[in-house]
Amino acid sequence: MSMRRPETESELVDLVRSVDVSAPPSLHARIDALVGESEPAAAPRPARGRRWRLAAAGGALAVAAAVLILLISAAGTDTQRLSVGRATALTQLPASMGAPGESASASGSLDASVEGVSFPYWEHSLGWRSSGARVDSVGGRTVHTVFYTDARGRRIGYAIASGLAPGVSGGQLVVRGHSSYRLLSVGAVNAVVWERGGRLCVLASREVSPRALLELASWGESKSV
């Protein structure tokens, strides 16, 4: 990740604060496994220390392997059908492309779109600046993801898949205006799923609540479709 070299101390501080590097998926998986291991913590633990650590490490490795396989299969293969889980997994991967800028021709949009459905520009109005992007292929569909970051360093991923959106069920259904949004949790990731222009959109984050994601998703709907 390259950034413009700061020229003043003030720019340097801004740069330090704005770095948006995510932990590797393997680390997330190991932490998720540790958290899962700690869930029965209400009951007294018979053995702590070395034995617990070894068991946790073993469990962590197993779950890490499983989650890694899931993430890799979601990101890297073209033979599997698009699903909300796979689209959400893509939002948790690192950016592989630079951040798209604000569109010169479409107000409130970024200079990035999928089959006419553009990504919203949120920096000025909502304080979420685009910080990177990636493009993947799943089941013959192109999934374009734009990452946004706010001043507190929180990161969200906004994915739009090409082709007609597959049916989505489950989660909490919220209707706003003419759109229906589903609030879901995919592992430790909060996600809002909806359609824009017949395309599947997923807005997901580990750090932002489902309700906050819904506000962003519904704002983008009204402003940039």
């Binding site: 990740m1 390259s2 950034m3 413009r4 070299r5 700061p6 020229e7 003043t8 101390e9 003030s10 720019e11 340097l12 501080v13 740069l15 330090v16 604060r17 770095v19 590097v21 995510s22 932990a23 590797p24 393997s26 680390l27 997330h28 190991r30 932490i31 998720d32 540790l34 958290v35 291991e37 700690s38 869930e39 913590a41 209400a42 633990r45 702590r48 617990w52 650590r53 946790a56 962590a60 001043a151 507190r152 360093g153 929180r154 990161r155 430790a188 580990r206 750090e207 932002v208 609540s209 906050a212």
Partner: protein, 186 residues
Amino acid sequence: MGTLDPQSLTMHVDRLYRAAWALCGSREDAEDLVQETFARVLARERRLTGDNELHYLMGALRNTFLISVRTRSRRPAVVAQLEDVAAADERPTGRPDSMIEVSELYGAIAELAEDFRLALVAVDIVGLSYREAAEALEVKEATLTTRVFRARRSLARSLGVSVEEQPGAGGREDSRPGGVLSGGSQ
């Protein structure tokens, strides 16, 4: 006083990872440090005096980091292998490039004195307010403020960034507002 919710901790992994990377100067060591921190925190039920998990985690990260530093210092020193030694800067003039990599930035932070490094990481990378950072690092807020100021200045000098001299700026006052990025993550 509340109890730390293990599930909610996972939302801070990215931020802790960035903090750990800047403390250690290496991504691999950062992964180990974050994992060890979570293992320690999750080993038993924790009670929070406030509602800010992040500053609790920063304190845990700091403690785990200091323990790992002390443990490492007791081990025999290993002489670097040839393949481990980074190549010299091949830029023809040695002039600073117009771009900077995260690894260079975090590497420079990792070279700061330990107290300065922890202060800068807590405020500028984790995003704690000065008060929260002072609590997490177990120092007075005035001390923390001075350390952040000096850490930023040292970092600027090490990266060849021009330092903004201010009349009367002796290190007691910070030129930037503290707590801009304060508080929780929701």
